[in-house]
Subunit: 251 residues, 2 copies
DNA sequence: CTTACAAGCTTTGTATACAAGCCTGTGAGC
DNA sequence: GCTCACAGGCTTGTATACAAAGCTTGTAAG
């Protein structure tokens, strides 16, 4: 594949995984072309690839947008992750010591980021745990699939996650690794199932994505964003209560 | 997405699933463009999408080719399928009667195709079983993933599968459905694991894909293809013994 | 004051032209 | 007779020009 195309693709994907790009972000072809110093052709290539991977969507003649998964799509993504990640743990016979060591190290870094209060890297790390797991226990194909799914999940969390429970997630990760160390793969799978279930349960899937969220956030001081009755609401509908935490990921 | 682009993509994918397009097939942009009555631009779109999905590959300035998975890639594909398909069965709590009925019907059709000796539809049906399973028990996302993996597996079988065991596969499918009916999802998962294992074990992954396979087949009477010492071999290497059964799929 | 409509601008959609490189065939040199 | 170099054709790679359609904004009628 062309390096510049792959570059654009990878940049956008990793920015999403890091929580730097919120769902619904518009990605203009010309702007990206200027930014990366390439022609629109290349940008379109990258966009179409990302569309195939379920990361962006095109709205005819309006532009490319980072996907905003619906509640149904969110459920699908979580079910798929549950299937694959528990399946992975249960398929594996034994965990090589090196893998165990690297996972433990990862969890340690997670905890450190949480204690230090490093919000931005924390969000990225929590998702990375799952990717590392797939990489260590599975193969490239599996890793790629999990990566795309994690990107999706990250976006979903940004849309529907009212509260953040990073410590709990990291603790779950720790438990999973502990079970793996004990050789209890079935237990690890169960813990993983519960972990993903917890994350999913922590979402407010009834909260419809707010089309005005970005504007609202720009105009209203964030601490007052929930109590700004003077802001005009579209169509007189009740204010959607989807919270928007750009660097928050519950995973 | 543009309908014509999606059309090209789907046509090629389903042709691969049906075993009508062997691995390594060259897919010229202009030819496809003429065939579908569209411009090269659209064809390229479809090709790039299929490349993202791991179905085709581009060789710079030579053309697009249906992938010829290496032995390693084959192992990855099978591991991934094992992970996902056993994971799916173990994640599901109970199987709705309607699902059970449709799966049983599918197996019945399989058996019928085998008894009738309908080789071409048989190959397609054996792969379809897994896709149907994902569709019935999982969701669209999962189905899409399994579909792409099945396409890969089909190509792998064409490259590395010396003998065909359609009856055995169909019997495996039957057993899996029976376990599901008995409510023994864990057992079904185990059977699925064994089933995929059997298929993988039936491959001859040491047989390197033969770049001359298609030529050899065209030039040498098939019954003598293994004993044709007069045919010039590239680089004096021993004759690769990868057999090529266009409408054979072990799944 | 609200709503409908229209003009202009911006952005994507699509085709096409040209550039670059691989493969094949031919001919010269040994 | 054989090998190697080179040229021509064919295929993909890339950019760009133009077409089509959306959104915004301005204006005027009800």
């Amino acid at each position: 594949m062309n390096p510049s195309t792959a570059n654009i693709e990878e940049s956008i994907l990793s920015a999403i995984l890091a929580g730097r790009i919120p769902p619904g972000t518009r990605l203009g072809e010309q702007k990206l072309a200027d930014l990366f110093g390439v022609s629109r052709t290349r940008v379109r290539e990258a966009m179409m690839r990302l569309e195939t991977r379920g990361i962006v969507q095109v709205s005819a003649r309006r532009g490319w947008f980072v996907v905003e998964p619906s509640a149904d799509e969110a459920r699908e993504a979580f079910q798929t992750r549950r299937v694959i990640e528990t399946g992975l743990l249960q398929t594996v016979r034994e965990v090589p010591p090196k893998v165990l060591a690297s996972l433990k190290e990862h969890v340690a870094i997670e905890r450190q980021a949480i204690e230090t209060g490093d919000v931005s890297s924390r969000a990225c790390l929590l998702g990375d745990f799952h990717i590392h797991l797939a990489d260590a226990l599975g193969n490239r194909l599996l890793t790629e699939i999990i990566r795309d799914l994690t990107a999706r999940t990250t976006l979903i969390s940004m849309l529907y996650q009212p509260t953040e429970k990073a410590e709990e997630s990291s603790h779950d990760h720790e438990d999973i690794v502990a079970a793996m160390e004990a050789g209890d793969l079935a237990g690890a799978a169960r813990l993983m199932d519960e972990h993903i279930g917890k994350v999913e349960a922590g979402l407010d899937l009834s909260a419809k994505p707010d089309p005005l969220a970005s504007l609202r956030e720009l105009l209203v001081p964030s601490t007052f964003s929930d109590v700004a009755p003077s802001m005009p609401h579209a169509h007189g509908a009740a204010a959607p209560h989807a919270h928007h935490h750009p660097s928050t990921k519950e995973d």
